[in-house]
């Protein structure tokens, strides 16, 4: 028996507060320059943090840089290149930052004159504060995840499934990490969880998908 068999999964929750950084970009050159200096927290916000904020789930553009390039700059080629950047493929936010700068630089080399958007269409760099708190709820055994996960708040889903990737050196989510601690017992389940893509789903879709995986694995009816 390993240590996780005795350590319950503590369900945490989080809430996010968005904060204006005051940094703005009116064209691609400014976007590139600000990307060099903006805090990693702002890059995190524009890729992930916005999931806990009012936004329209645009099926095409899931990060704010691509959305702005599409809707305001009207540079479709760049929007597509930015949209395909998958943040979970990058080890940390610094490497993600460099990739973004690289893509924008490349586009600046290709075009003669970067479009300047009107002043009320600028890209506003936002950062966030995350408040993490204990819910007092624990999952004693992996079987209980089937019942607990569908009832979790979206903040808990965000914290354990998305935020964990940046919190933990392994880059894994908390469910995977906890189940992995049971050795090979839940290997198949870990693989299934890892195959859920958090990037193209809303938080409520993620909660549904996770709940389904746990229910099916443990042979319970999906609610």
């Amino acid at each position: 028996m390993n240590s996780n068999a005795r350590t319950p999964f503590a369900v945490k929750d989080c809430a996010l507060v968005a904060i204006a950084t005051g940094q703005k970009a009116q064209d691609l050159r400014e976007l590139r320059d600000k990307l060099h200096v903006i805090s990693p927290g702002s890059i995190y916000y524009h890729f992930w943090g916005g999931r806990l904020r009012p936004r329209f789930d645009d099926p095409q553009y899931v990060n704010d840089f691509a959305t702005w390039t599409h809707y305001q700059v009207h540079d479709e080629m760049l929007a597509e290149r930015l949209a395909i950047v998958d943040p979970k493929e990058f080890q940390d936010l610094e490497s993600l930052r460099h990739e973004l700068i690289e893509i924008v630089e490349q586009r600046l080399d290709e075009i003669q004159w970067p479009t300047v958007v009107p002043s009320d269409r600028q890209f506003h760099f936002i950062r966030s504060q995350i408040v993490v708190f204990d819910t007092g709820r624990v999952v004693e055994s992996p079987e209980d995840l089937a019942e607990t996960v569908p009832r979790m708040s979206l903040g808990s889903v965000f914290y354990h499934f998305i935020d964990a990737r940046h919190r933990l050196q392994s880059g894994r989510n908390d469910f995977y990490t906890w189940l992995d601690g049971f050795g090979d017992t839940y290997r198949d389940l870990c693989v299934q969880i890892a195959s859920i893509d958090p990037y193209f789903a809303t938080l409520s879709e993620l909660r549904t998908n996770l709940g389904r995986v746990f229910s099916e694995y443990f042979g319970r009816a999906t609610s």
């Binding site: 809430a15 204006a20 936002i126 504060q129 408040v131 708190f133 204990d134």
Partner: protein, 417 residues
């Protein structure tokens, strides 16, 4: 009085539990909101719902209102117009009245405000209260509901200096934030899905509530609900209506608005609108009392086309209200309307009466599109603009203010449930 639990039916039980847990971190904290009117306008409406819900969560929150003479409201209306970019006069006499009114209100509210742990000052009207509170104990936050993206500089220059001693500001959109030496939180406002303005109504009840206005049930209705304010461009809506009428002669227009006690300009704008309407029997200009929430609800449900053709807009709660009723909105391409009306998805963004007319004609011809966009609009509001989300963000930022200013705040306190 509604409880937080009542919102589980609309937002989900998980959302309600999340709120309870956040609120548990704020037990014993004394909160005061201050604005300048209890009736009329979006701010009063939000506070009327938000404060009792905080109380229901066990938080000691109260709502105070500053009072002034006509000259005070004239001055603050000028501020409002100026902050939204209109050049306005700034007479020394009105500025003195503004400063003196704040000072006298400070005397009346001193004991409450000095003892509070967190004070939210809404908009410029009570902004100067802080100057008169050298012995304040708590953190003071300026909550600006106005579109401050391109202010008339002399007005902002005058007011900005009074914001500097605040611990933080809150704006509805990043575009409204300013160069200030403190944290600027971003919190869009919200609607209450259970109040009289937004609750479900049967079609019979809608008919009954709309009956006094003698709308022809067989003909389509265009509607704009908002105060009679130039920034809402009611005359632009009239022009759009005329362009539509050339193609759809049966169309009727309802311009429905109330008056806020802190808006001295409403009467003059109403007269302009009446003049522009030129006694057209198909134009219904309704000056509604502040408690006409059910009527507004019914009108929004009855309308075939909902417009909010503002040229400046802090947020535009009437847009949210209509979207909650499953209506796509034709909105001015400005301010908070952009956050709600996602072009071609939840409505259309327009920049002219011609644009509004074009989109109106399109929707009148495509009822299937109205239904599809209306459904998207309602779900978008459910996810993002209900009071439960608003409450969560207020609670989160208060926790952030109390527990530290790092990017990640871990509150170890165990929450008993």
């Amino acid at each position: 009085m509604r409880s937080v639990q009542d919102y589980a039916s609309v937002a989900g039980q998980d959302v309600v539990e999340h709120l309870r847990q956040l609120a548990a971190l704020l037990q014993g904290v004394r909160i005061v909101h201050v604005n300048s009117t209890r009736l009329g306008g979006g701010v009063a409406e939000i506070l009327r719902e938000l404060v009792p819900l905080k109380n229901d969560l066990g938080i000691d929150a109260r709502w105070e209102v500053v009072k002034g003479e006509e000259a005070f409201y004239q001055c603050t209306k000028n501020f409002h117009n100026g902050l939204q970019g209109t050049p306005v006069p700034m007479s020394e006499h009105l500025l003195r009245t503004y400063e003196e009114t704040n000072a006298s209100n400070a005397e009346e509210l001193r004991s409450v405000l000095e003892e509070a742990d967190i004070v939210f000052i809404h908009d410029p009207q009570p902004l100067l209260l802080l100057q008169s509170m050298p012995n304040r104990k708590g953190k003071w936050i300026w909550r600006c509901h106005i579109d401050l993206s391109r202010p008339y500089r002399p007005v902002w220059k005058y007011l900005r200096k009074f914001t500097l001693d605040y611990e933080a500001s809150i704006f509805s959109l990043a575009d409204f934030s300013q160069s200030l030496p403190h944290t600027q939180f971003l919190v869009p406002p919200s609607i209450d899905p259970l109040n009289e303005k937004n609750m479900d109504l049967s079609s019979e009840r809608v008919e009954e509530l709309c009956a006094p206005f003698k709308l022809d049930a067989q003909r389509p209705v265009m509607l704009q609900v908002s105060r009679f304010d130039r920034f809402k461009d009611p005359c632009g809506v009239l022009r759009a209506y005329r362009l539509v009428k050339a193609f759809a002669p049966g169309v009727q227009l309802v311009l429905a608005g109330g008056a806020a006690t802190d808006d001295p300009e409403g009467e003059a704008v109403l007269e302009e609108v009446r003049f522009e309407a030129d006694a057209d029997p198909d134009v219904h200009i309704l000056l509604l009392p502040p408690d006409a929430d059910l009527t507004i609800n019914a009108l929004q449900r009855r309308a075939d086309i909902v417009l909010q053709k503002s040229v400046k807009e802090g947020f535009g709660l009437t847009v949210t209200e209509a979207m909650w009723k499953g209506k796509p909105v034709i909105g001015g391409d400005t301010g908070g309307i952009r956050l709600q009306v996602v072009n071609h998805h939840t409505g259309f963004l327009v920049s002219s009466p011609e644009g509004a007319a074009l989109r109106t004609r399109y929707l009148l011809q495509h009822p299937d599109k109205v239904q599809e966009m209306g459904h998207k609009a309602k779900e978008f509001v459910r996810e993002n603009f209900l009071i439960t989300r608003h409450l969560r963000e207020y609670l989160s930022l208060m926790v952030a203010l109390i527990y530290g200013d790092e990017e990640r705040i871990k509150v170890e306190m165990h929450v008993n449930r």
